[in-house]
Amino acid sequence: MSVWAAVIGASLGCYLLKLAGLSVPEELLNDRRVARIATLLPVALLATLAVTQTFTTGRHVTVDARAAGLAVAATAQLLRAPFLLVVASAAATAAAVRLLH
């Protein structure tokens, strides 16, 4: 699958999910198991993405400048910094670590 096909296909999938919420019978989405999974899924996937994007390079598990970036970002997040500052602090930290090496 090319990147373009993925862009179009996933966009269509995301649109149909949005439309489904407005269209499908309420009982289906009110099912407790469905509701439970829908609460867990975004949180668990975002956590997984944060971890894998920090500690893997291709198929290798690595600890590098990105880990320092994530640690600083976590601190900024705990201090309730705005989104852009959290992201920028991670990038700046990783850049500084690489510069010092």
Binding site: A6, K18, I37, L45, P82
Partner: protein
């Protein structure tokens, strides 16, 4: 009952404020997407067509990390499932037959839902939904373009640490949702499964395994009746 001017103005002011904040997210999305290797056109298309932030961040960083576009697309769609539940709560606002629902559906995201479920009256909820939709859609797409063009001008994004920006973005998107013991436990398990499987399977697949773990954990928690 028609809306008075004060209510109307306050809704529109909030909608613009949320739009500006989202524009900042858009800026980082544009930069991260181009850094991950997507073209300017692909990046812009994602913000126009997919228009749901977490899914977009996930897709571009998985593809950038060497994952197959299929795995990237599947993860994006899995992250988009929450929008279906938002739609359920918005059916009184943009429900009903026809084109308004089809158009409104594209704008069913975190921000518009938060704004539209707040007011008591349906008129105020409609205004909140559409004002937020216009403001966020416009500024998210403008932000994306500016971020993408800016990042294209940088010869080596790694020296600026831009590869560390995506994990930080996931963390910031995640933090407000991390409420409760079970969410922590399931998230940690999912992340560890992904990390442990990373050397064994092609890039992009670990996240899908994490999704599978999450579904199984959700069913088990429900079967045991845990709150």
């Amino acid at each position: 009952m028609p809306l008075d001017d004060r209510t109307r103005r306050s809704i529109i002011r909030d909608a613009v404020g949320i739009g500006v904040a989202t524009g900042a997210y858009g800026l980082s999305f544009g930069a991260i997407s181009v850094t991950a290797g997507l073209s300017l056109l692909q990046t812009a298309a994602l913000s126009l067509l997919m228009f749901t932030g977490a899914s977009q961040f996930a897709m571009v960083s998985l593809i950038g990390g060497g994952g197959s576009p299929v795995a990237g697309a599947a993860t994006a769609v899995l992250l988009g499932t929450r929008n279906a539940f938002y739609g359920l709560r918005l059916s009184r606002v943009i429900g009903g037959p026809g084109q308004r629902r089809a158009l409104g559906a594209q704008f069913v995201i975190d921000e518009t839902t938060a704004m539209a479920v707040a007011p008591d009256s349906v008129d105020a909820a409609r205004l909140a939904f559409w004002a937020t939709a216009v403001s966020v859609f416009t500024l998210w797409n403008v932000g994306t373009l500016v971020g993408a063009v800016g990042a294209q001008a940088i010869p080596d994004p790694k020296t600026l640490g831009l590869d560390a920006a995506a994990p930080a973005a996931f963390l910031a998107l995640l933090a407000p949702r991390m409420t409760g013991r079970h969410l922590w436990a399931v998230s940690l398990t999912a992340a560890l499964v992904a990390l442990a499987s990373a050397p064994l399977v092609p890039a992009g697949i670990p996240v899908l395994l994490a999704a599978l773990v999450t579904v199984v954990a959700g069913l088990r928690l429900e079967a045991r009746g845990k709150g």
